[in-house]
Symmetry: C2
Subunit: 177 residues, 2 copies
């Protein structure tokens, strides 16, 4: 059985600054038709930055969607035409004031393939050099430094509540073992 | 600095079967106002089902948002008022025809807190009992069985492209070590 669902119609319901939302009419593998809601996102990078003292840098931010502050690894949306490595370097500098002299791709994954095409390029960043932080107008965050071993422990104990942060720490642990 | 962003206005842009989309006008920590796009989702469960032979069950599904088939651990949306354990049991039965006699919560996390409130309850399921599959009308998938050790290896090597699948396998590995 071919699982593909061909779109025979597409209607945009919302075009925003961060996401677009559309509904596709699709033909299912059994020949019937159905609807699929799709949230289009430009994609993002996330970075696990580890310094020479084996500490990981996190940012605590208020997330309106979740109505609370969440501790996450640094991350940010890809700008139009931007390559993920440039984006990772830019975000690290903007969010924690560091430039990574060593950047390794850990994984590329969809955050929620059931309804969104958001794809995250996840990097491990080391050999960090301090820069002054270029403060962005609309980004309010607190930088938090946690020993890597403790951060891995927190991942295993369910103390992080963000998917990219969990994937990042657990893959970094495998990579650095 | 209090990082909270209070909403002073809210406008729904789309109400769908799976997601709603709204734009909130918020007051930033610096007193200025801004807009936040929010994709509301009912939440979901994901399950890492491991049988007595140390195999993990996956499902391969076509994901319209990503325009391709993706290999994922079984998962599904929470129905109104449904508790996550009931949902996990229901989804396992619907997707792979198994009932878990042992279910352990691995983690609870947001898939994409930057724009969505989708929260996933992630379980490790063992002591699986075969049931007949109740085929759903609009779910087309292929069941794939992979040895657990090989699945963990694939996670580390970047061969999975779904966040919940990566978190699930890497946390199950820590739990079962």
């Amino acid at each position: 059985m071919n699982l593909e669902e061909k779109s025979i119609a597409r209607e945009y319901k919302f075009k925003g600054k961060i996401v677009n939302v559309r509904v596709d009419t699709v033909i299912l593998p059994n020949g019937k038709s159905s609807f699929r809601e799709v949230v289009e996102h430009p994609g993002a990078v996330a970075i696990v930055p580890i310094d020479s003292g084996e500490n990981v840098f996190f940012v605590r931010q208020f997330r309106k969607a979740c109505e609370k502050t969440i501790l996450e690894v640094p991350a940010g949306k890809l700008e139009a035409g931007e390559n993920p490595i440039d984006c990772a370097c830019r975000e690290l500098q903007e969010e924690i004031g560091m430039f990574p002299h060593k950047l390794d791709l850990l994984s590329v994954f969809y955050t929620s393939p059931g309804f969104s095409n958001e794809l995250i390029y996840l990097y491990l960043a080391r050999e960090l050099q301090s820069f002054s932080i270029e403060k962005l107008d609309d980004e309010f965050l607190r930088i938090v430094k946690i020993p890597f071993a403790r951060a891995v422990e927190k991942s295993i104990n369910g103390e992080f509540e963000d998917a990219k942060t969990l994937v990042g720490l657990l893959l970094a642990r495998s990579r650095l073992q």
